[in-house]
């Protein structure tokens, strides 16, 4: 056989994709442990998965550069259109390399930035979680999967931003970021679902190929708006820009990572990714370009007047994100190329700047520009890095920011906005002008000027490890700035992927004398002038009234909280009976509305005749029910009468061909009544009359309405034929399950999974009761119990002799009956449930007759163990099917013929039923046992031993006397 090597290679390569996206999540488990080995080891082990993922990506890079697209798909929930599918094209590769590359640099930088008191293991774990989420976004081929990762970035960035938990700003900033980006994410879910519905597939590749179909759809505009809401909130576009500066309360490595390469770029990435599907329409242009333009100018203006270094950089980030958004909004190929190029450039200089700001803060112990200055002499290396990066941000020639800014201005210079030719170029120039001003301020007000002597801490250059990362980025800034053609293949690769067409980026420093050049020159000169005028302008800015986004946001949140609190407190006022009344009324009304809306066909069945005895049974049931209601204040009486109701229901089951139900009902009935009797011992014996006549009346109306509704519904059901899956069970019970009792076969075979869940629930209920009782008896209730006296209703004879004798005689017989019921269950009425109940009744009788202490002494296996054993046996039986290569809980059976016994059946289902039996027995016993422990707690006064006269003890005492 000849292996197609190329194809084989391709499939190997594609299988890297899920591994790459998983690596950070797996790696996230490690730092928390490795921190014990020291900080450097911890950082190394964080870098490891990032590095591995990066290597795998670089292996795939040549193929992607050639134009190949790698895909990998793992079916997850195909019914929902959700699959874990990944794909890697130019855009995804660019972003993935940025995320991982900067991730490595940040890991290194954070190692030196974080102080000894910071829990570093936590930090790296959060960082890797975030990195994995980001990586997932850029590699997902399924938009539902993308949404999952999108929400994960919101959550993990919340952890990162709020990393310094002791700082209120950190917590508030994290909360604000989560609220804004989370809300946007919710909107985006809606948009993506609409998109999926239009195309008929949730696969990104299908959606990107169906751009025309999407744009022609009526749902295009809502989908676009919802998706843009997600992108705008994430990328901090006006009017959602306010969260980003507040997220600056995070440690600087976080800011550098989130706000240069990752989090905020996710929105830009999404717009770029969806470009072929959504861009190119009027509404796209006016929404995206306009918002981008406003954000760019606004961010740049505010940045100039921020004194906090990181706040300055934060608003500069907002401004640059606006620039990117605007470029994508233009919807032209050239603009897309400029956007991709600027994404790379912004990453290099902005990450370097954030790290520089972090170094300054770390060394001088302040980030306030007004308290800094003259740092160039004290920390020359840092100053050089910061200056290079800031000049690039300003868009000065020979730095990479210049080239992409020129391309942006060029695009803006021939963009019309509502037929207006000058407004976009003018505003773009204004944005660039302010950008120059704040960049120069960053350089001159921090590094320039004379050395001061009032720094909070005397600064000097940090160790190499701390400036290595920004220095590397600064080198990139210069290299791309001088030799932009080096970046051409990367830009081409990503731009091809964005536009879905062949692009020819042509990156060079000198574009000739064109409008962009004049705009650029104007911006640089104007920026310099602005900086010279900064002092008076700053005073004016401080004096001017400005809306404070945080106050507005907090006010908004407070209002919403007030509203919801008002509603929930009005509805949720502690009166359970009121909630129940609302619930019942609402259900009846909804049911009635459904009845009004649906068409009910004519009855198709005849009514069955009513024999006289059955009629009397019914009468008894009705009378007993009414008696319970009338006598419910006398609790003992009501309890006795409710037993009659249960008996009549069981009798009904017998008559109506449901022997299994009758057996179960009657045994459950017994146990329930015992339970209630036990409980009633500690409760008041009478209910006080508290309800007013009005209340009784209104409750009666609600109750009768509900009763009528349910009764009529049941009647309508019974009078009509309809198809269900029941016939299948009847037909396959014997052939497939090997049993003739179809109900039992359904329980242990067809729907074994349900039954398995149900016995677990029952077991949990038993354990919960035990735990509750444990807590109760050790608390104040236990003391109250010990001190109360129950003499009045206590029989003089605790252990009536007759009862003791009879129950002991009955025990083996009852257990035999239980075993019999269990064994015949598969073919005749019976089974694990009923058998468990019967045996527990037999045991309970011992408790009642001979007392708690006597019975407990003879108990060999704890009830907790029984529950556990039951679940275990059932589970193992189910798992046994795996050994035979079948799905969980597939049963097997066979017939065995042993002389001289008749042929009999062996089925794994019987083993499963044994698990059910054990679990039911354990749970029921544990419940009643817990309640009886309470009785024991309440103290014993009369004859303590069953059989007050024990002949063996008499002999014993005689012998003692004789000695």
């Amino acid at each position: 056989m000849i292996l197609d090597l190329a194809e084989w290679r391709m499939s190997i390569d594609s299988s890297f994709l899920p591994i790459i996206s998983l690596l950070p999540f797996l790696g996230a488990l490690v730092p928390g442990l490795m921190i014990r080995a020291g900080r450097t080891a911890c950082a190394t082990f964080t870098a490891l998965p990032t590095f591995l993922a990066l290597v795998m990506l670089l292996i795939l890079a040549p193929g992607v550069m050639r134009g190949e697209v790698y895909t990998a798909e793992i079916a997850w929930l195909p019914q929902l259109g959700l699959s874990a599918s990944f794909f890697l094209d130019g855009l995804g590769l660019l972003f993935a390399v940025m995320i991982l590359g900067v991730g490595l640099l940040i890991t290194l930088y954070a190692r030196f930035y974080l102080s000894k008191d910071d829990p570093m293991g936590q930090f790296y774990t959060y960082l890797l979680l975030f990195q994995g989420a980001m990586l997932g976004i850029v590699l997902s081929d399924n938009i539902l999967l993308l949404l999952v990762f999108w929400e994960l970035t919101s959550l993990s960035s919340f952890l990162l931003i709020g990393y310094w938990k002791h700082l209120p700003e950190g917590r508030q900033g994290a909360r604000m970021a989560l609220a804004v980006t989370g809300a946007g994410g919710l909107a985006m879910i809606g948009g993506m679902l609409i998109l999926g519905n239009i195309v008929g597939s949730y696969n990104l590749t299908d959606i990107l190929a169906a751009g025309d179909q999407i744009k022609a759809s009526d749902w295009y505009v809502p989908a676009l708006i919802l998706i843009l809401l997600g992108a705008f909130t994430k990328s901090a576009q006006f009017p959602f820009h306010f969260w980003l500066p507040h997220a600056m309360a995070a440690p600087t490595p976080v800011s550098a990572y989130l706000h240069s390469a990752t989090m905020v770029k996710a929105g830009v990435f999404l717009m770029a990714r969806m470009w072929p599907a959504l861009a190119g329409t009027e509404i796209w242009f006016y929404l995206v370009a306009t918002v981008g333009l406003i954000t760019m100018v606004l961010g740049a203006v505010i940045a100039l007047f921020k004194d906090d270094l990181k706040a300055l950089l934060a608003f500069s980030t907002v401004s640059h994100l606006g620039l990117l958004t605007m470029l994508l909004g233009f919807g032209t190929k050239a603009a897309a190329i400029a956007a991709v190029f600027h994404i790379i450039n912004h990453l290099t200089f902005k990450a370097a700047l954030f790290m520089t700001a972090g170094i300054v803060d770390h060394e001088a112990h302040t980030r306030d520009i007004k308290r800094l200055g003259g740092l160039a002499r004290l920390m020359p290396v840092t100053a050089t890095i910061g200056t290079v990066a800031a000049l690039s941000m300003a868009g000065i020639p020979l730095f990479n920011g210049f080239i992409s800014k020129e391309m942006m201005l060029e695009e803006a210079s021939h963009t019309y906005w509502f037929q207006n030719p000058w407004i976009v170029p003018a505003l773009a120039t204004l944005g660039a002008l302010f950008s120059v001003a704040y960049s120069l301020r960053f350089i001159f007000h921090v590094f320039g000027g004379p050395v001061r002597d009032d720094y909070p801490h005397h600064p000097h250059d940090p160790p190499f490890g701390m400036y290595a990362a920004p220095a590397l980025l600064a080198v990139l800034v210069v290299v791309i700035g001088i030799a932009p053609f080096l970046a051409e293949p990367v830009v081409k690769m990503a731009a091809n992927a964005v536009t879905g067409a062949e692009t020819k980026p042509y990156l060079k420093i000198w574009h000739g004398i064109n409008p962009a050049l004049f705009m650029s020159v104007g911006a640089i000169l104007g920026g310099a002038v602005l900086l010279a005028l900064h002092r008076p302008l700053d005073r004016a800015w401080i004096a001017a009234p400005r809306p404070e986004a945080k106050v507005i946001f907090d006010g908004l949140v407070a209002t919403v909280v007030r509203w919801t609190r008002g509603i929930s407190e009005a509805l949720h006022n502690g009166a359970i009976s009121r909630y129940l009344a609302y619930f019942v009324t609402a259900t009846v009304i909804v049911g009635f509305a459904a009845y009004q809306g649906g068409a009910l066909g004519a009855p198709t069945r005849e009514m069955l005749p009513v024999p006289i005895p059955v009629f009397f049974g019914w009468l008894l049931l009705i009378i007993a029910t009414a008696t319970v209601v009338i006598l419910h204040r006398q609790r003992f009486l009501a309890l006795v009468v409710i037993g009659v109701v249960g008996l009549m229901v069981s009798a009904g089951f017998v008559y109506l061909s449901a022997p299994d139900l009758a057996l179960t009902q009657i045994s459950v009935e017994t146990v329930t009544i015992m339970l209630l009797l036990l409980a009633l011992h500690f409760l008041p014996k009478e209910t006080p009359a508290e309800s007013t006549g009005l209340r009784i009346g209104s409750d009666a109306v609600v109750a009768v309405a509900a009763g009528l509704a349910v009764g009529l519904l049941a009647f309508a059901f019974m009078m009509r034929d309809f198809d269900s899956i029941s016939a299948y069970h009847l037909a396959n019970s014997y052939k497939g399950g090997g049993g003739t009792n179809v109900v039992n076969v359904i329980l242990v075979d067809f729907r074994g999974y349900d039954t398995y869940g149900e016995i677990i629930v029952l077991g949990i209920a038993g354990l919960a009761i035990f735990a509750l009782m444990e807590a109760l008896l050790s608390g104040p209730a236990g003391a109250r119990l010990r001190n109360s006296s129950y003499d009045l209703d206590r029989s003089r004879d605790r252990h009536p002799l007759m009862m003791v004798v009879v129950t002991r005689l009955m025990l083996p017989i009852a257990i035999m009956v239980g075993v019999y019921i269990f064994l015949r269950g598969h073919n005749q009425p019976g089974g694990g449930f009923v058998a468990g109940l019967v045996v527990s009744i037999a045991l309970l009788m011992q408790y009642m007759a001979s007392g708690f202490a006597w019975t407990t002494r003879r108990q060999k296996i704890k009830y907790h163990t029984l529950i556990g054993l039951g679940v275990l046996v059932a589970g193992l039986t189910g798992a046994g099917a795996w050994l035979a290569g079948r799905p969980f809980l597939t049963s097997a059976f066979g017939y065995v013929h042993l002389e001289p016994i008749e042929e009999f059946e062996l089925a794994t289902a019987a083993l499963f039923d044994l698990g059910v039996f054990l679990c039911v027995l354990g749970a029921v016993m544990l419940m009643l046992y817990s309640l009886s422990r309470m009785a024991r707690h309440a103290g014993e006064t009369v004859n303590k031993e069953p059989m007050g006269y024990d002949p063996s003890r008499a002999v014993e005492s005689l012998r003692k006397k004789a000695e």
Binding site: S657, V668, S691, G707, V743
Partner: protein, 118 residues
């Protein structure tokens, strides 16, 4: 026959609802017990009624069988509703012993008092 079953379901529901609207824990438990009878009967009745047609297969010939599926569902429902009743009884007991009162409505709707754990 159908009328009898339907009216039983209706009566049990009405009685159950009336009792769960009472103010003390014990009648509410009784009400829930009646409601579980009603619900179980109702579920059972969705398989329609049949007499002498238990879903036990007859290996010796043709016979008609009633719908087994609702029966299987109701069987587990009966057992589970016992578990639920037991847990509720425990709550009621605990509340009564802790508070000295088995009233189910919290008297004071004042949120400040609730938050302080009263």
């Amino acid at each position: 026959m159908e009328i009898l079953v339907a009216s039983s379901v209706g009566t049990l529901t009405a009685a159950g609802v009336y009792l769960i609207l009472r103010l003390r824990a014990f009648p509410v438990i009784l009400g829930l017990a009646l409601l579980s009878y009603a619900v179980n009967l109702f579920l059972f009745s969705t398989g329609r009624l049949a007499i002498d047609a238990a879903p036990i297969l007859n290996p010796y010939g043709e016979a008609s069988y009633t719908d087994p599926l609702p029966q299987a569902l109701v069987l587990t429902a009966i057992v589970i509703s016992f578990g639920m009743t037991a847990v509720l009884v425990m709550f009621a007991l605990g509340a009564y012993l802790e508070a000295g009162d088995d009233s189910i409505d919290v008297e004071s709707p004042d949120p400040a008092e609730k938050e302080s754990g009263a």
